[in-house]
């Protein structure tokens, strides 16, 4: 009987998806049941289906919204011909960190649970992820050609960057120790300039 409370400017579907993202992060997609989700939304499981069409659809919305978000950003960054490769990399890194801090649940879920998508969506997501990494690799290779970046294997560098950023997950739990901006600066510095102190 108690209706789902709708936040300002959001549909009830949005509320469900937000709660789902939280649960999917905590317990994983497969280990989260619709009754589980319903309880956190404050409603019976069957009632969810007035707003969404399936459990799978929830995961799809989370994953593709996030993926499009990152894809749009890199296109914007990459379109600017006045930026050096290092600057572009830094901007991409900072965007990832910011997204991780601001939309933690959804970014995390979309990164770890996309494997549970089913097939038209699964293949789509796989190629989108591949394309995204490829774009970053091209930026790095451009930087190598121009002498800004040392000649390392670009795909390896991309993997390191992206996975390093996803490590904020652990940071998120012990928030107090270090502020968001400090974290951002630390991460960018470590990745761009390394751990070793230069002579």
């Amino acid at each position: 009987m108690a209706k789902i409370k709708r936040n300002r400017n959001g549909t009830r579907k949005d509320v469900i998806i937000a709660k789902a993202a939280k649960l999917f992060r905590e317990k994983g997609f497969s280990a989260t049941s619709m009754r589980d989700l319903a309880e956190h939304v404050g409603v019976e499981a069957a009632s969810l289906y007035n707003h969404i069409s399936s459990k799978a659809e929830i995961l799809q919305e989370i994953c593709f919204k996030t993926a499009n978000n990152f894809m749009s950003h890199i296109e914007e960054v990459d379109a600017n011909p006045n930026k050096t490769a290092i600057e572009k990399i830094q901007e991409i890194l900072r965007f990832h960190i910011k997204q991780m801090l601001d939309n933690y649940e959804e970014v995390y879920v979309s990164d770890r649970e996309w494997k549970h998508l089913t097939d038209p969506y699964l293949s789509n997501m796989q190629s989108q992820r591949r394309a995204y990494r490829q774009r970053i690799a091209l930026v790095i290779e451009e930087g190598i050609r121009k002498g800004e970046i040392k000649p390392i294997d670009a795909p390896t560098a991309v993997l390191i960057m992206l996975h390093a950023v996803s490590g904020i997950e652990s940071w998120h739990r012990s928030k107090k120790k270090i502020a968001g901006e400090v974290l951002e600066d630390n991460m960018v510095q470590i990745l761009v300039d390394g751990l070793r102190k230069q002579a």
Copy 2:
């Protein structure tokens, strides 16, 4: 009727756990059913219980074996007082990469699926992970004090290192592009000296 083929020097339980690790990596712990596992082992689901006591136990064995492995290694590295901090960090990194290449399934599972442990084991694993990160952080802080490592936030550096290494997962799928040793050198170099070319 067809018995589980036992590898030389391995029990049937080991075979089950190895197959389970593969499935847990591909589909996740929750999405892998005992019947699924049984089929890959070549046996009926009920027969598995002659060798293991529960699905949960399989995950426990995978996680704790791997965790002990890493813990032993860092203790060994850290005990040597003649190594610089940078050398210790490099050894830890190389060990992680090697483990990821040699025991891929189990290392991956233990890193991504430990959340599905249940409670005496879950708490245990959480504190073991915390302790491990803490030890690495201490090495980094030692390096900072001695002027080998630039003064960054040590816990952040640890997160970056560990998550960067776990990125080999993606690399693993496209094996051909780059050999194991080259990968190792690239990763260590990027993390220790950064992306930027020094003037």
